[in-house]
Amino acid sequence: AQTVTQSQPEMSVQEAETVTLSCTYDTSESDYYLFWYKQPPSRQMILVIRQEAYKQQNATENRFSVNFQKAAKSFSLKISDSQLGDAAMYFCAYREVLGGSEKLVFGKGTKLTVNP
């Protein structure tokens, strides 16, 4: 089974600064999808960004970008110009496909605090 590891239980950043959240994963597949989900205090799971493994270009969504290092199996999330609303739990996830079914495998999460 694939595993996803987030080694930073908590991170903090000053408003308007940049922060990077780390994620590593283990897989023997060559093509797969990786995701970052945001879970604010409301507990809603919000998709922030996704990356398909065969695409070499790092995904970007406004202030959010990833550094995808396939050989190192690393998938970090960079948040630029941090805002107070970015404060949340961030989960890295891997899309595991077995046969005709799929599921998401999540890391343990990183709690991000944004200081004014």
């Binding site: 998709l47 996704r50 005709g100 799929e102 998401l104 999540f106």
Partner: protein, 116 residues
């Protein structure tokens, strides 16, 4: 746009009671996933259905059962509730479940189950 609907949003039960959680997927979505998120934990995959058939099963206790109905809504039935079943239960839906294509899982707001 229509989103995934879960009901009830909050549920309080006593130990050994039974609970039923309902999930209404986005229109035209034929795949439903259930995840359990314990306090301070990451979401864990429980079970999924595609076209009313179980497609995958994760760490779901034998006390739990689920099904997908002809209108694609799904119900998670939980019997002999234990204190450890207290968690946030997410339902997600997607359209299709083919390895060759990406089908985003859209998450519902979750049902918070408290077992006393």
């Amino acid at each position: 746009a229509a989103g995934v609907i879960q009901s009830p949003r909050h549920l309080i039960k006593e130990k050994r009671e039974t609970a039923t959680l309902k999930c209404y997927p986005i229109p035209r979505h034929d795949t439903v996933y259930w995840y359990q998120q314990g306090p301070g934990q990451d979401p864990q995959f429980l079970i999924s259905f595609y076209e009313k058939m179980q497609s995958d099963k994760g760490s779901i206790p034998d006390r739990f059962s689920a099904q997908q109905f002809s209108d694609y809504h799904s119900e998670l039935n939980m019997s002999s509730l234990e204190l450890g079943d207290s968690a946030l239960y997410f339902c997600a839906s997607s359209r299709g479940t083919m390895k060759s294509s990406y089908n985003e899982q859209f998450f519902g707001p979750g049902t918070r189950l408290t077992v006393l």
